[in-house]
Each structure stands twice: as structure tokens, then as C-alpha cells.
């Protein structure tokens, strides 16, 4: 860790000391890793199929038609049926290892008796039940989490690149440039964000990238504002004048002095930005103006859940998941703040 400055090391150690924040961070990272490998755990495709001496790994790659396993159809093999068939024939032809949850988030697993939604059922491996159209709730939760996290990180990176660049320039250069953008931001941040998103999404059904761009359009001002204040404050410090007087160039001052000293502003907001990304995507999906329909999303589950209050497992599982994730993110946020900006209260009595 020698390439980190002593201050960074100290901050890292302070972060580790805030136990609940540190553990939340570890758990959340593990969950994110898990969700990126979700195809291996929650999927309708088998992990391994051994059939008549040949071994298949169907998880990734193009689908294997049913005819390969002597089914009479050309479309993708139903591995759950294959497993049943092989079990009945006492595994003479081979075996199938299915993921823990043998469903993908898109398939409607309908039953002959009754109509969905079906309550949680361990025999069918619908651990959290199914939604209104018979899709597995757990599978949709897991894949929805992956999309929400990817979305939040995308949002974070884009808003931060705009916010830091523009805010730094506004604060450091000041003058007319600063004033023009100040007015622009004031107008822009007063535009009712949800109105515009709803109007936009009702014209075209937005895909992931479009929704991201729309959200970035409305979330850059706040970061720009914080960064502007921070750069403005640093600019007035003596060390900047000192650097100038020994002949440092503007880029050098910006990248070697102003930016590193504003890092606490930048980092402290990261967890809260992530939480905001997840909540606003979920809110949009809940209203039906988010990602297009079959995409697994928490907001869509929330919407189904609140409309079918009698099928309480839907709303219960998505709300629990949201509470769990958001509280962890907030714990991390508090810990990061503590690490970068420690406030020691002396108690007077």
C-alpha cells in the first residue's frame, strides 16, 4: 500500500474501524459479485449436463436445442424436464445439475391447477413464490438487483465525470463562466425531474442507456454544485497561491492540489448517490416509466405487490430486499463520512 499517501491510509483504517459500515461494505460487495455470476445460481439452464457420455455446460453461450437430448423439439431444452426424465430412468443416460433456483427471471412457470401468483413452495423450488404471471420472484429479485446496481454505478460515473469537471472549472476559474452556469443550473434544477422523465418515457419506451442519459441530465447539477463550492474554497487557500508563485501550471494546480484536497467531498457522496440511483430507478419502474416490461426490476415487483395485497409474499420479499440493501448502503455512507470527516464530540457535563 506504499503508493497511498499516509492520509489515505489513515482514512482507510478509520473506515475499517466503523464495524457496521465495514461489514456492510463487505456484504454488499459479495452480493454484487454474486449477482454478476447469477447465471450459475439462478437460471433455467443447467450448470452441468452429462448425457450419453458427453458433458455439456449450457449456462453461458448459445442454447442447446431439445433434439440434442432426444426431445422432439428444436427450441431450447427444458433442463428441468430433462432432469426429471433422467431421474426416472435411474440416471442410466447421465445426470443434470441444476442451479439452486432452477428458473430464469423471464419464464412463466404455469401449473395445470390454479392461477398465478403461487405462494412460496419449496418442493417446486419457488423459494419466494411467483408473481402474477408465474415468474419466480427470487429470480426477478436477483436479476433486478444486478440491473439496479449497474444502473446506479453508471449514473454515478457519468454524473461524477460531468460534476467534477464542470464544478472544478466553475469554482476555479470563476468569472463569467461561473455565473452563466450558475444560472443554468438554477433553472435546470428547478425543472420537475419526474415530470420530464414521465413525458419522455411516454413518447418512447426507454431502454437502459436512454433512461441512464435522462437521469444523468437531471442529476449532474447537485454534484457540480458541491464540487464548485469545494474548488472555490481550495482556490483561496495559501497553498494554491504558493504553487502559483513557484510557477505551477493551471493543470498541475488543478490535478495535484485542488482535486486531491476535494476528494473527501467526492467520496462522501458516493454511497448516497448509489442509494439515490437505486431508489429513483425503482420509483420509475414502480410507476411504469422505467425499463421496458419484461426486464426484471424491483419497482415492477413493488407495483405488482401493492396491487395484489393478498399475495403478500411478493411485496414482502421486495420490500425486505430494498430495506436490507438501502440500510447497508446508508451504513457504508455513514462510515465513509466518519472516515473522511471525523467529528469528535466532546461531551460537556
Amino acid at each position: 500500500m506504499s503508493w497511498f499517501s499516509p492520509q489515505t491510509k489513515k482514512r482507510f483504517l478509520r473506515f475499517r474501524k466503523v464495524k457496521r459500515g465495514y461489514w456492510s461494505f463487505n456484504i454488499l460487495m459479495a452480493l454484487i459479485m454474486f449477482s454478476f455470476a447469477a447465471e450459475l445460481f439462478v437460471n433455467s439452464r443447467a450448470i452441468i449436463v452429462s448425457y450419453q457420455g458427453k458433458v455439456y455446460f449450457p449456462t453461458y453461450g448459445s442454447f442447446i436445442p431439445g433434439t440434442t437430448f432426444d426431445f422432439d423439439y428444436e427450441y431450447e431444452t427444458n433442463y428441468r424436464d430433462l432432469k426429471k426424465r433422467l431421474n426416472q430412468s435411474n440416471n442410466a443416460d447421465g445426470f443434470v445439475i441444476m442451479p439452486l433456483v432452477p428458473y430464469n427471471p423471464y419464464e412463466n412457470n404455469l401449473k395445470d391447477e390454479g392461477y398465478p401468483p403461487f405462494p412460496p413452495n419449496f418442493a417446486d423450488k419457488h423459494y419466494l413464490g411467483t408473481d402474477n404471471t408465474g415468474r419466480d420472484v427470487l429470480a426477478r429479485l436477483v436479476y433486478g438487483f444486478r440491473i439496479a446496481i449497474l444502473f446506479s454505478f453508471g449514473l454515478l460515473i457519468l454524473t461524477y465525470s460531468i460534476g467534477i469537471t464542470l464544478g472544478c472549472a466553475m469554482g476555479y476559474f470563476g468569472g463569467r463562466f461561473d455565473i452563466v452556469f450558475q444560472r443554468l443550473i438554477e433553472v435546470w434544477s428547478n425543472v420537475p425531474f419526474l415530470y420530464v422523465v414521465i413525458i419522455m418515457s411516454s413518447i418512447v419506451v426507454p431502454n437502459f442507456t436512454m433512461l441512464l442519459v435522462i437521469m444523468v441530465l437531471f442529476s449532474w447539477p447537485s454534484m457540480t454544485w458541491y464540487m464548485r463550492t469545494s474548488a472555490y474554497k481550495e482556490k483561496a487557500r495559501d497553498y494554491v497561491s504558493a504553487a502559483k508563485s513557484i510557477g505551477a501550471s493551471t493543470p498541475r494546480i488543478l490535478f495535484h492540489h485542488v482535486l486531491p484536497n476535494s476528494v473527501s467531498t467526492i467520496v462522501t457522496f458516493v454511497p448516497f448517490q448509489i442509494a439515490a440511483g437505486i431508489t429513483s430507478l425503482t420509483a420509475l419502474d414502480y410507476l411504469g416509466f422505467g425499463l421496458p416490461s419484461p426486464t426484471p426490476s424491483w419497482g415492477e415487483l413493488l407495483q405488482q405487490g401493492t396491487e395484489n395485497l393478498s399475495s403478500s409474499w411478493i411485496v414482502a420479499s421486495v420490500v425486505c430486499m430494498m430495506v436490507f440493501i438501502l440500510i447497508m448502503v446508508t451504513f457504508i455512507g455513514e462510515a465513509v463520512r466518519e472516515a473522511f470527516d471525523p467529528k469528535k464530540h466532546s461531551i460537556f457535563q
Partner: protein, 335 residues
């Protein structure tokens, strides 16, 4: 101060113009506006009455008339000017959905929004300030830690998730409160006392959801500010010259701790009126927020623009009010 206020007030018109113009332009470019909607409706009614839809297609002239009625035949900048001129005369236009004047529609929703806004503001201030003070004084006691974790949950969750949880647990599962709406359908027939009870029963859950987010921010702000001040030298001096702890907290530290809270005060105005349409949608309350949401869905642009005018003005004046509040509680602030 006066100069600063004047400058801030002078900045309102350009911001207001920019804002309304932006949304006006957006509404112009969205397909499915009132004219297209009307054409579709006519075709539908024709089809249902057995006629061939294609046959009674509106002729050019009628479409032109409709376009003229809504100002779609003129360039954007001119129809924006006309709209703005009407707004200055206090005329927000008529809803393209109901035909009623926009001001009337908005006015009919206002009492509901103001009821929720004012009550939730009162609850926040009357509970958060004492709670914050108490938590600061009893820092790290059992009560402080317990209430912190509760308040923290409210802080981490967005208010619509809190609303969903409350609705599922207390309205659907336990059936302690009604599922939604502002009052029951038979409200008119109830006696005065039952009316109050009915209103309150409907209000408990939405109010809790409204309050949950701001509650945490306020309480923690109060607590942290007070703790900073309690550690300050002037409190020590005050006690050294013989004040009791209670007096030192209430007369000295408390006053100074109000400064960060004052920066938040102006936001209340816009929250009072605008509310949160997510909460209103979840609890099916016919407030200002839900009106805005529905009128966007229905492409009722006169209403959308009317709401925008009111809410943006409130927001802009609210920001200035915050600054005044800060100046009032903190004489050191120089603008």
C-alpha cells in the same frame, strides 16, 4: 441585506421564464397531445356507434380549428408569449381534459395538500426539536441509541417504500387503518365527531410516510448542532458564571443550534403544496401531487403548466425565505 434580497428577487423572473419555457417546449414536441387525443376519441366513438372509423376522419379544416384553439398553429415562441400573457393576468387556461378552469381544479385540490403539508411540518418541528435536544443531552444512552436506529431506518428508506410498508402492514394485514383515500365515501353523512375520527384514521399512515424522511434529517441536524455547541467554550463560560445546565442549553446552545435548521425552513413551503405524488398515489389521496401526475399521463398540458407555475414560484420564494430565516437567527451572516 436589503440589497441582497433585491438581487435575489430580481433573479426570480429569468429563472421562472427559463423554467416554464423549457417545459412548454417539451410539451409541444410530445406526440399524443390534446388534438390527436380528440381525433382518436372521435374515431372511437364513431366506431362504437357502428360507423366506419375511416369515413368520419376529421377533415383538414376541423383539425386546423382544433390546432388554432390550442395554439398549435403558431410558432412556439409566440404561443409561449400568449400563454405567459394570460398567466400574468391570472388566467391559467382551461383543462383540456375536463374543460374546467385550471385555477379551479388546482384550487379544489389545495385544501388536501395543505392539510398534509402543514400537519407533517408541525409534527416534524414539534417532535424533532425536543427529540434532538434530548438525544444530544443524553448522548449514547440506551434511549439515544434505540431512537437513533429507528430514525436511521426512516432515513435510509425513501418515503414511498415506507408508505408501502405501512400500507401492507397496518392497512392490509392488520386492518387498523383504511387502505387509502382522503376521507371515507360516506363522509358527508357522519356526525362532526365521526368526521374528525374518519379524517384522522385516513391521515395517520400517509402522514407517517411523509414525516419519516425529514424526521431523521431534522432530528440528527438538531442533535449534532446542539452537541457541537455544547462543546463550545461559550457554554462552558456560561456555566462557569453560574448558570444551570438547563439554562445554558436552552438559552445559549439551543439558539445557536437553530441555524442549520433555518436553512431548511424555506423548503417547507414547496413541500406543503407539492407533496409527494408517490405517497399520494400509493394512498390514493387526491392532492396536488397526484393531480400533476394524472395530468401528465392524460397530456392535460394546461394543468401541467399551471402546476409548474405555482410550484416553481413557491420553490423560488422558498429558497429566499430560507436565506431570510438564516439571517434572522444568525446576525453574523452577511450577504
Amino acid at each position: 441585506m436589503a440589497q441582497y434580497l433585491l438581487r435575489r428577487l430580481l433573479l426570480i423572473p429569468p429563472t421562472f421564464l427559463g423554467l416554464t419555457f423549457l417545459v412548454f417546449v417539451i410539451t409541444r414536441f410530445v406526440p399524443g397531445g390534446p388534438v390527436e387525443r380528440m381525433i382518436a376519441e372521435m374515431q372511437e366513438s364513431a366506431a362504437s356507434s357502428g360507423q366506419d372509423a375511416a369515413q368520419i376522419d376529421l377533415d383538414e379544416e376541423q383539425i386546423a380549428q382544433l390546432n388554432e384553439y390550442y395554439g398549435f398553429d403558431k410558432p412556439i415562441i409566440i404561443s409561449y408569449g400568449i400563454w405567459l400573457g394570460r398567466v400574468f393576468q391570472g388566467d391559467l387556461g382551461a383543462s383540456s381534459r375536463y374543460g374546467d378552469p385550471v385555477a379551479e381544479i388546482i384550487g379544489s385540490r389545495l385544501p388536501i395538500s395543505i392539510f398534509y403539508g402543514v400537519t407533517s411540518m408541525l409534527i416534524t418541528y414539534f417532535i424533532c426539536l425536543p427529540l434532538g435536544i434530548f438525544k444530544a443531552i443524553k448522548h449514547q444512552s440506551v434511549f439515544d441509541n434505540l431512537s437513533s436506529s429507528l430514525v436511521f431506518i426512516g432515513y435510509a428508506l425513501p418515503s414511498y417504500v415506507v408508505a408501502v410498508i405501512l400500507m401492507v402492514v397496518f392497512a392490509s394485514h392488520l386492518e387498523w387503518f383504511p387502505l387509502g383515500g382522503f376521507v371515507s365515501d360516506d363522509f358527508e353523512d357522519l356526525s362532526r365527531w365521526e368526521q374528525v375520527k374518519d379524517l384522522l384514521a385516513h391521515a395517520v399512515l400517509p402522514l407517517t410516510a411523509y414525516v419519516s424522511g425529514s424526521f431523521a434529517v431534522m432530528t440528527f441536524m438538531m442533535k449534532n448542532a446542539l452537541m457541537d455547541n455544547l462543546a463550545a467554550d461559550y457554554v462552558r463560560t456560561a456555566m462557569a458564571k453560574g448558570l444551570s445546565f438547563r439554562q445554558a442549553v436552552l438559552n445559549h446552545a439551543f439558539k445557536n443550534s437553530l441555524i442549520p435548521l433555518a436553512t431548511h425552513f424555506g423548503n417547507n413551503i414547496s413541500i406543503i403544496i407539492a407533496g409527494s405524488f408517490l405517497i399520494e398515489k400509493i394512498f390514493n389521496i387526491d392532492g396536488f401531487g397526484l393531480l400533476g401526475y394524472e395530468s401528465i399521463l392524460e397530456r392535460d398540458y394546461p394543468v401541467v403548466m399551471g402546476i409548474l407555475v405555482i410550484s416553481s414560484l413557491l420553490q423560488l420564494f422558498g429558497n429566499i425565505l430560507s436565506d431570510i430565516c438564516v439571517a434572522v437567527v444568525d446576525p453574523r451572516v452577511q450577504f
